[in-house]
Each structure stands twice: as structure tokens, then as C-alpha cells.
């Protein structure tokens, strides 16, 4: 089961590279925020997988909870801030 969890973590890391690539080469600023939201979604799962591998889930679960709240509020604040016209 350790090997399966390590494989899941590595594949999640490989998928999040796609989101970072979309942040780098997105044409508009909305595309970059969509990529950032995608990376934030993957990071929550990745934190719990890291906690299961190390066997200290009670430490990492609080970090994952706080990170999910901050990612959600950050996306809402960016969408409120960018809702008027601009470049």
C-alpha cells in the first residue's frame, strides 16, 4: 500500500505541472486564475497523501483544511477584484 500511495503522489505531482504550465502561458488573466485554482485542488489531495505516507495524518489534515479554505477565499477575492474591465 506504501507503493500505491507513492505512485498516487507522483502522478498528482505530474498532473499539477499542467496547471503550472497553464499559469505560465495563459493568454488572459482569467486563464491563469483557472490554472491556480486547479493546482490548489490537487494540493489538498497531495497533502493528505503525504500525511498517509509519513504516518502523521493528524498533523497534515489541519494543514489541508486550512489550505482548502484559503484557496477558496483567494479565488473569490481574485474574481471580485478582476470583474471590471482592464487589460
Amino acid at each position: 500500500m506504501e507503493g500505491f500511495l507513492i505512485a498516487v503522489g507522483l502522478s498528482l505531482l505530474g498532473i499539477s505541472v499542467v496547471g503550472i504550465l497553464r499559469i505560465i502561458l495563459g493568454p488572459t488573466v482569467i486563464d491563469r486564475i483557472v490554472g491556480g485554482n486547479f493546482v490548489g485542488t490537487i494540493t489538498v489531495v497531495l497533502l493528505i497523501v503525504i500525511g498517509l505516507i509519513y504516518g502523521r495524518l493528524e498533523l497534515f489534515i489541519d494543514i489541508a483544511l486550512m489550505y482548502s479554505l484559503l484557496s477558496f477565499i483567494g479565488t473569490l477575492i481574485f474574481s471580485k477584484y478582476l470583474s471590471h474591465k482592464g487589460p
Binding site: V34, F38, S83
Partner: protein, 116 residues
């Protein structure tokens, strides 16, 4: 129970992979939001259910029950919060004046004259 957990995590990884392909290949930010909405709801819900089954497999004392409840709370929160964030982002992109992509280049909506 471990086999069921492995199946659920693999299903969630499939949703994440298809969402990543859509994020890379689609031509417009609206289409990309449609692709990442799948990872926001189904992918993270299936992955967290599978990981909760992994925790539940090692025994069910008081502390592990708290861990399972916290994991399921994160899944429920993302199941509500992910579509909310996507909806707010799409609304801001629409008010910002981002034109939707069409195949033949014609407009599908009547946009006011003189705006971006």
C-alpha cells in the same frame, strides 16, 4: 476495503487526468473552466473517499474517527465551494468582456458597441 479504496482513488485520478488534458487542449477560458469543474467536484470527492477508506482500514478508535470526519468535511466543503468559485470566476470573465470562442469566428451574443 483496501481494494475498494484503491478503485476509488484510481477513479479520482482518472478525473484529474481528463481535467488536465482539457485544461491543456481547450481553446477558451470558458471551456477550460468547464474542464476544471470536473476535478473540483468528482475528482476530489472520489480521491478523499478512497483515502478515508485507507484510514478506516487500520482500525476505528476515537482519534481515527476524528480524522475520517475531517477528511469527509474537506470533501463536502470542496463539493460546495468548487462550483461556487468557478461560477464567480465565470461571472467576472463575462463582465470583463472576454468573448466566447466559436468555430467559425462569428459572435454568438450581441455585445454592446465600443467595448473590448
Amino acid at each position: 476495503m483496501v481494494v475498494l479504496g484503491i478503485g476509488l482513488v484510481s477513479l479520482g485520478l482518472f478525473f484529474f487526468l481528463s481535467s488536465a488534458i482539457g485544461l491543456m487542449r481547450f481553446p477558451d477560458c470558458y471551456c477550460r473552466m468547464h474542464a476544471t469543474g470536473k476535478a473540483d467536484t468528482m475528482g476530489i470527492l472520489f480521491c478523499l473517499l478512497g483515502l478515508a477508506l485507507f484510514v478506516l482500514h487500520k482500525g476505528l478508535e476515537g482519534e481515527r474517527l476524528l480524522l475520517v470526519i475531517k477528511i469527509l468535511f474537506i470533501g463536502l466543503f470542496w463539493f460546495i465551494g468548487g462550483p461556487t468559485a468557478t461560477h464567480a470566476l465565470l461571472r467576472s470573465a463575462f463582465e470583463r468582456g472576454v468573448r466566447p470562442w466559436t468555430k467559425d469566428g462569428k459572435e454568438i451574443l450581441e455585445w454592446p458597441e465600443g467595448e473590448s
